[in-house]
């Protein structure tokens, strides 16, 4: 579904050029859940924005469903770290925002909006304004807003990182259920190993400055997965340990002498 080939991105900052991403090669299959994990500043959000068509790669290219990405696509939905809801619109109207912007018929998608709100437990809150909702509920609304686009691909940028630990786990389990139900291809940026192991089919581990693809870890644990006690504790522990290892020990890349790394 998604092919990233030899993609690089450099930014021109005040202190000269910064290489955010270097030579990323990545393929995400149809209906696959791919987590992208790395330390802060490793360029994982940049990678996601490149896939979304919000920023252009300075080298290489990104394509979705065989077509090169040059601008944001309607069948690709984004969920941001913050809910990014319009504070003057009710929950329901926030969910219907993409419908309005795409100039789709509101009446045709109204039903779907109600379904999504019901699915995420927000049916009783559709007339409320965002500020009346808790952080977790706001992020659910933004998830519904992404799903109303009927996306082939969902790009999620640390969507649960601003929430408290319990709400995070709750939403992660819910996202897994939605993914299993709808079969949407998802790229999920996170810095939480726990989230990655719970949700992902494969985890792409990025190394920092410049961000490179260090390794792809396959998580072979049957779904539905859950936090806490389950039949696959050992596999979960193994996968987590492997990711820990990859994230905590910086690899000595062949063409990057240790002295210059930050």
């Amino acid at each position: 579904m998604i092919t990233v080939s030899a993609a690089s991105r450099t930014f021109k900052g005040k202190s000269g050029r910064v290489e955010a991403l270097k030579d990323i090669n990545l393929t995400v299959g149809d209906g696959e859940f791919m987590a992208v994990i790395g330390r802060s500043g490793c360029g994982k959000s940049t990678l996601l924005r490149m896939i979304a068509g919000l920023i252009k790669p300075t080298g290489g290219e990104v394509s979705i469903a065989g077509a090169r990405v040059l601008a944001p696509r309607r069948d690709v939905a984004m969920v941001f770290q913050r809910p990014a809801l319009l504070p003057w619109r009710s929950v329901q109207d926030n969910v219907l925002l993409p419908v309005e912007i795409f100039r789709w018929r509101r009446s045709q998608h109204y039903e779907r909006a109600q379904q999504l709100l019901e699915m995420t437990g927000l049916a009783g809150f559709r007339k409320r304004l965002p500020h009346e909702l808790s952080g977790g509920m706001q992020q659910r609304v933004s998830l519904c807003r992404a799903l109303i686009q009927n996306p082939k691909v969902m790009l999620m940028d640390e969507p649960f990182s601003a929430l408290d630990a319990l709400t995070r786990e709750e939403l992660a389990v819910e996202l897994q259920r939605i993914h299993m139900e709808l079969g949407t291809t998802i790229v999920f940026v996170t810095h939480s190993i726990q989230e990655a192991v719970l949700l992902a089919d494969r985890v792409a581990v990025l190394s920092a400055r410049p961000g490179r693809l260090r390794q792809i870890v396959k998580i072979d644990i049957p779904r539905p997965r859950s936090f806490g006690h389950n039949a696959h504790l050992e596999q979960v522990a193994d996968a987590s340990a492997e990711l820990h290892q990859l994230l905590l020990t910086e690899e000595h890349l062949p063409n990057t002498p240790p002295a210059t790394r930050v």
């Binding site: 944001p72 984004m78 990014a84 319009l86 925002l97 912007i101 304004l129 009346e132």
Partner: protein, 262 residues
Amino acid sequence: MTDIQNGSRLSLVWTNAVLPVLGGVVAIGLWWLLTIALHIDPFYVPSPPDVVESFLRTPTYLLSETWITLQRVLIGFGIAAVCGLLIAVVLAASRTVERMAMPLLAAVNAVPKVALAPLLLVWMGFGNSPKIVMVVLVSFFPIVVSTMAGLTSTPADLRELARSLSASWWQTFVKVRLSWALPQVFVGLKVATPLAIIGAVIGEVVNPDHGLGSVIVGSGASSDTPLAFAALVLLAVTGVVLFYFVAVIERVLVPWARAIAS
């Protein structure tokens, strides 16, 4: 439960109605006390009863003069609000126009408007128009500045949301930026209301015909200080009423603003 509700309603009445009235009563009491204690001649500072008596001598006359001033204020303020909003929209839409026009606007705003009053008299003669133009000149700048501040302060996550949905410039402007700017627009309008009254009085003092400004000029000629004070009190009351009128409209139109600010 009902006790708590009654309690909170009572405390609401207390903070929103009783306290402001109490403040006014205390201030008038102090004024009265000072005029008695220091034996101030009513020719210099009349006591509250002198002012009331002066008002009661010709209440219909004073009220009709107030109405004339108020009309000029409302017409001028309306024009200033519409022009201010339009100018701000144009300036916020185009960086080129903004760079070209902003210094000019700032320069115009820095000119003391009183100095323009004789010119307005030359250009427009007597009657309503020079006063209304004065109101517009004095009150439109804060509306422009704060509307522009609102239009250019759209949060990054909302801008990115609009971009990820491929919203057109116009859609982003109408559905996101304009509503986001509304609280700021009201800040500008609230700053501009007292200025509008000041503008009308400047116009009337420089070129007296009708209105409270002319009443004050006339009272000076006949050494009737209590009458001048009565006119001042009427101006102050007009100002308070207008200010809270704008505040009420704000509450109705942007109920979410307070929640966002906290």
